[in-house]
Each structure stands twice: as C-alpha cells, then as structure tokens.
Amino acid sequence: MEYSEKVMEHFARPHNVGKIEDADGVGEVGNAKCGDIMKMYIKVDDGIITDVKFNTYGCASAIATSSMATDMIKGKPVSEALKLTNQAVVEALDGLPAVKIHCSVLAEEAIKAAVKDYYDKNGIEYDPALFKEDSCHYEHHHAQ
C-alpha cells in the first residue's frame, strides 16, 4: 500500500481544518468503531458555500480526503457541492489504495450531510433521494 504524493501533501498540511461556530450546516459521518469520523461545517451565503471547515478522526487518507473534498466545494454553489462524487475526490488526489476508497466515500457523505443539515435548518425543500440513508461504510471496505 502506497499513498500518492498528493495524498501525503494534504495529510501533512491539510487545508480547511477547524470548526465554524456559526455554521449554516454541519454533517458528521463514520464511527469510532470503524476508526474514522468526519465532521464538516459549511457557511452558505446566497446559495454559495463561502466557507468550509472539517474535523476528522482517522487515518492519513481520511484526513487527506477531507482536505481535498473541502477544497473542491469551497466557493461553489450548494447544488454543485452535492454533485461531488467520491471518484472525483480520489482522482484529485491522484488515486487512493483500494483499501482506502471508503475514506473518499465518507468525504462525499459528510458534505451531503452538511448540505442536508443546511436545507433542513433553512426549510429548503429537496428531493430526499439526494441523500441516501447512512450507509455503514463497512460496506465500502475492500479486503486486501
């Protein structure tokens, strides 16, 4: 198992680490038993994600995918953030080892959870199909 240079860069100096106290949306996914939890905070102004921060407990790829995914939605319309896929995050990181793909799935789910929270808090209607029920990320683990 080897990490790309991009992954190691984002792990060594992750972007957007922290919390937003007056966040418009907060999403948390994962669990301690599995060894990774991601919590994302978004600030939304006029439908645009003006700021995003994360807190992550997990391995190097969990931290790197949090960093990259938050970079990718910062300054973007909420509707576009919802379209961010885990594959896009993996590609932006120049790949992840097969056993670590679930980290990118968590990053996608954390963003969606934060957006859903924003929608719920602001009474914005949405298609529930956009937000799949919390899929236990155990399913995304790949045996070596």
Partner: protein
Amino acid sequence: MQVYADNAATTKLSKTALDAMMPYLTDIYGNASSLYRIGQEAHHGVQAAREKIAKALNAQTSEIYFTSGGSEADNWAIKGVAELMAKKGKKHIITSSFEHHAVLHTVKRLEEQGFEITYLPVYENGIVHVQDVRDAIREDTALVTIMYANNEIGTIQPIPEIGAVCHEKGVLFHTDAVQAAGHVPLDVKAQNIDLLSMSAHKFHGPKGIGALYCKQGVRLPNLIEGGAQERGRRAGTESVYAMVGMAAALEESCAHMEENAAKMRKLRDRLIDGLLKIEASHLNGDRQNRLPGNVNVSFEGVEGESLLLYLDMKGVSASSGSACTSGSLDPSHVLLAIGLPHEIAHGSLRLSLCESNTEEEVDYIIACVPEIIERLRSMSPLWERIQKERGNQ
C-alpha cells in the same frame, strides 16, 4: 534525527552476521551436497550453523531444521503434528487468542479440515493462565501451541509451566518463539518445549531464514519432497550464507543477552513513563512480564496510522495496531484479545527498541509524540466527544 523503533517488525543485519555470510556469497559457492572441496566447505558452514543454533536452545543438532522463517516453521510444526496425531484419533488443538497469524491462520485451516480448536483467553494483561491450559487438555488433544512472547504487546508467557502441564498430560507442546529468540534465554529441555519456531531477522540475522526445533522422536512428516537436505524432510539446496548468518547473529545475541536486555529495559521503561504522561494514554500488556524492548501505548481520540505517519515525518519508524494499518475492517486481534474497545485499539502505537537505540533517541520520541497527539486531537471529533463526556461526569 532518524530513529528506528520497529525492531519487532525486523532488525538491522549485524556486522558480525554480515561478515560471517560474505565468504558464502563470494568464494564458497559450492553446493553443500557436493563432495569436492568447495562443496564440503559449504557443508561445514551448514553444520557449524546448525550446531550453534542447537547450542543456543540446549538442543541436539539433529533436532534443528532450517526453514525460510518463522511462518514456515509454525506451519510445519502445527500441520505436521496435526497429521501425526490425527492418525491416533487426536484432533483437538489448544492455542491462545492472540497468536501470530502464522499460527492462527494455520489452526483455522485445520479447523476447516475437521480439527477442533480451543482458543485460550489472554486476559487484560496479555498472559495465558497455566490453569486454563490444564483445564483445556482432553484425551484427544493433539497439540498445545502458545507463543513465547507476543509480537505486538511483548508479553512473555509462562512457557516452562505450560510445557510442564503438557508433559504431565502427555501432549506435545509447540511455541512460536519468533519474538523471544535472541532476546530472552531459551532452553528447550528446562522449559519443557517439544517444538519451537524462530526467525533470524528478529535478532539481527538475515531475512528469509528461520528454524524449527523438533524434539527427537517426533517424526514430523516431510515438508518438501526431494533431496536429502534437512534429513530428507525439507528438500532443496541449502541457502548456506543465510544459515551461517542466522547462526552468527544468534550466537552474538545470546553472548550479550543480559547486558543488552538490561540496557533495553532501561530505555523501554523511560519511554513508557514518558509516553504515559500524555493525557488519556494507556500501556497495553503487562508492565513486568514483557520483552525488554517492547512499548505499546494507546492514545484515546487519535488513529494509529496518522500517528505513525506523522512520526515518520519526524524520522521515527514505528508501528500501530489500527485497522488502517492492518488493512482490514478490525484493529489488531491482539489488542481486541486483551479487551480493548475498537476505538482505543485504533489509537495504538508500538515502539520496539533494540540494544543500539540510545537514551537520546528515546527522549526524542518522548518529545515528538505529545505534539503529534495534540495536533491529531485538535482535529478529532472523537476526542471532542471524549472530552465532553468526561466534562459531564
């Protein structure tokens, strides 16, 4: 500063071992089975190596079989005894729940073939109870296999006492001594051991070579059919340089065992004390009955792989029992076996020292770890939750 603190994974080849090996990698290239001079020189190298290893274990030279390493020795011992005993209708094996995978996966395979396996508990301190072994032995018990010292938490098992119980009950006793050989005194006779596995690269020997001690009278089935090497039980042209290197490394380790162990214990205890000053940290495994170089500490609220990769950036090589480093769903089976919850097992750090580590290096590790833990905890939602729960109590 560069600090290698993963000696339980592998060790640096010693100068003594390298020097002993060089002639067999250059001039003495003969096949040890050949009758002309350079063949016989190679043969003598093999014989001298076997004698040294036998002496280190207080065994006969005819009881030592070279293997490719510890895993092969474990596989051969367990599958071999299982095959022998199955003929007598004995199909029950006793082991512990925190063995190396070379043992656990082997007994699992036997289980699929109709053997019954008893996994003894190792309790919170990581030590098998002798009484549990006694209670588990049955009429149809074929083998008891308990590791000498655990590879992750370094706990040393009551091997002589377990062996005595096995002999009293007439059951063969195998021990995986891969972590123990060269580090703690081994004596197969005094310690009642019938079969023992070891691996050269754990005591500054070369990789790819190990040995199985098998007591005279136990007719293990052949592992590899072919020529007459290893008394016909494991055929194939000998890797003379590896055997010679293993023997030289073991001889050297045994000659300096006491002074090395005393030095390592001092470093180990300094490191344990230094790391336990960090808030919400726990030592894994018994503090007294542990290998001289083993330190295994869990830090709540952090994940082990991140911790060891940040340590690597500081020049420190270590290891962890987190799921992410094991490449599976679960954290280390050893840490789960001593009763750690998953989230604490994920935050484990193993540092394994050798005699060439220094106090300066230990102090450097003690200085590096707290800031990394602090950094990881400052971005950990789990740590935030732990803090809140503590605050509410």
